[in-house]
C-alpha cells in the first residue's frame, strides 16, 4: 500500500536533486541525439545536395557561356569567309537541281576536248527542285540529309583527252566520285569512255 502511494506521488520535482540531474542529462542527450538524427541530419543532407546541384548547374551555365562564345566566333568566321562558303556550296550543294550537275559535266567534258555522247542522271523526279516557297523563305531551317545522284557519262575522244577529263573531274569544285570507268574503241579510231560517278547534294 505504501509502495502504491509512493508510485502515485512520484514526480520529477519529487525526486532527490541528484537523481533529478541525472534524469536531465539523459533527457538532454536523448533530445540532442533525436534532434540531430531526425531533424538536422536530413536538412544537412538536403543542403549538401542543393549545394552540389547548384555547383553542377553553375558549371553547366559556364559551359553554356563558353559555347555561346564559340558560337559567336563560328558565326563571325562564317560571315568573314563568303568565298569559302560559296566553295562549300559548290562542292556539296544545298539543292537538288539536276541541271547544275548536267551543265558542270558538259563543261568539264568540252573543256577537255572530248565529245559528250550522253549524260544520264538518276534522281527523284517527285521532289520539288524549284519554287519551294517555304525553303526560299528560310533556306537553313529545314533538316537536310546528304544524298547521291548516280550519273553515267558517255564521252568520246583520245586517251590523252580522257586523262585530262579524269583530272578535271578529280579537281572539280563539285565532289564527283568516279565508281567505274570503261573504254572501248569507236569506228573513227577514237575511244568511247563510259564513266559512272556519284555527285552529292543535300535534300
Amino acid at each position: 500500500m505504501d509502495i502504491l502511494n509512493a508510485k502515485k506521488n512520484f514526480t520529477i520535482s519529487s525526486m532527490p536533486t541528484r537523481q533529478h540531474t541525472v534524469f536531465e542529462i539523459i533527457m538532454l542527450v536523448i533530445v540532442s541525439a533525436l534532434l540531430y538524427w531526425f531533424i538536422i541530419s536530413p536538412k544537412q543532407a538536403k543542403l549538401d545536395a542543393l549545394t552540389l546541384g547548384s555547383g553542377e548547374l553553375s558549371a553547366e551555365f559556364s559551359s553554356l557561356e563558353d559555347n555561346e562564345r564559340k558560337f559567336n566566333k563560328a558565326v563571325a568566321d562564317m560571315k568573314a569567309h563568303p568565298e569559302e562558303i560559296a566553295d562549300l556550296d559548290e562542292a556539296l550543294p544545298l539543292d537538288n537541281r539536276v541541271t547544275k550537275l548536267h551543265l558542270a559535266l558538259e563543261n568539264l567534258t568540252q573543256s577537255s576536248g572530248m565529245t559528250v555522247g550522253d549524260i544520264s542522271i538518276s534522281y527523284k523526279s517527285d521532289v520539288v527542285i524549284s519554287g519551294d516557297k517555304e525553303q526560299l523563305a528560310s533556306p537553313f531551317k529545314v533538316t537536310r540529309k546528304l544524298q547521291k545522284m548516280i550519273t553515267a557519262l558517255d564521252v568520246t575522244g583520245t586517251y590523252d583527252q580522257f586523262q585530262g577529263l579524269l583530272q578535271k573531274l578529280e579537281q572539280s569544285g563539285r565532289i564527283l566520285t568516279i565508281t567505274s570507268m570503261e573504254a572501248s574503241p569507236t569506228a573513227d579510231q577514237l575511244l568511247n569512255f563510259k564513266i559512272s560517278l556519284e555527285a552529292f547534294y543535300y535534300e
Binding site: T17, R18, T21, E24, I25, L28, V29, V31, S32, L35, Y36, I39, I40, K43, Q44, K46, L47, L50, T51, G53, S54, L57, E60, F61, L64, E65, N67, E68, F71, A74, V75, M78, I85, L88, A91, L92, L94, S138, F140, K141, R144, L146, Y159, F162, Q163, L166, Q167, E170, Q171, I175, T177, I178, T179, S180, M181, E182, A183, S184, F200, Y202
Partner: protein
Amino acid sequence: MAQINLLKQKQVSFDSLQIVTSLAVKFLFLILVGLVAYYAFLLYRISSETKKFFSIEQQISDKGKQLAARPERNELLTRQQQLKELNTLVGAHPYWSGMLPAMAKVMLKTANVVTFKALKDGTVTMSITVPAITDVEQFLQVFDLPEFNNNFYNIRIGSLGRSQSGDALLISFDVRMNYNPALLASPEGVR
C-alpha cells in the same frame, strides 16, 4: 593519533559529483541550444541555396532559348554538317587518273587493249588482242615479277581464242585482275 572524519569526506565527494553533473547538464543544454541554432542556420542556407539553384536553372533555360533563337544557328549547323561530310568524302575520294598510266607500265607493247573496265571494288577487266600465243605467255609472266605485280595482281584470263582483225589473225583473251587501292589515293598536292 589523528582522527579521520569519514562522514565529512563523503559529503565533499557528494558535492563534487553534484557540481560535475550540474556542469554536464549545462554543457548538454549548450549543445542543444547549439543544435537548434545550427538548425536555424541550415534552414537559412537551404532557403538561400534553393533560390540560387532555381535562379541558375532559369538562367540556363533563358540562355538555351536565346541561343536556339539566334537566326544564324540553322545556317551554322548546316555549314558544320557540310564541312564534316565534305571532309569525309574528300578523305575517301578516289583519284582515277593514276590508274591508266600505271596500267600502261605493265602492258606489253604488242598488246592491244580493246576494252577496259575498272570498278571501285578493286577489279579491272580487259579484252586484249596480241599477235601470238607467246605474247599471252609473256603478258602473264610480267605479273610474276615483283616490280610489276605491285599495282596489278591476281590475274585471271578467259575466252582465250583466235580472232580475225582485217587480214591479221590475232589471239584475243579477256583478263580480270585486281588493282592496288593505293593507286586511287590522292596524288601529292591535290586537295
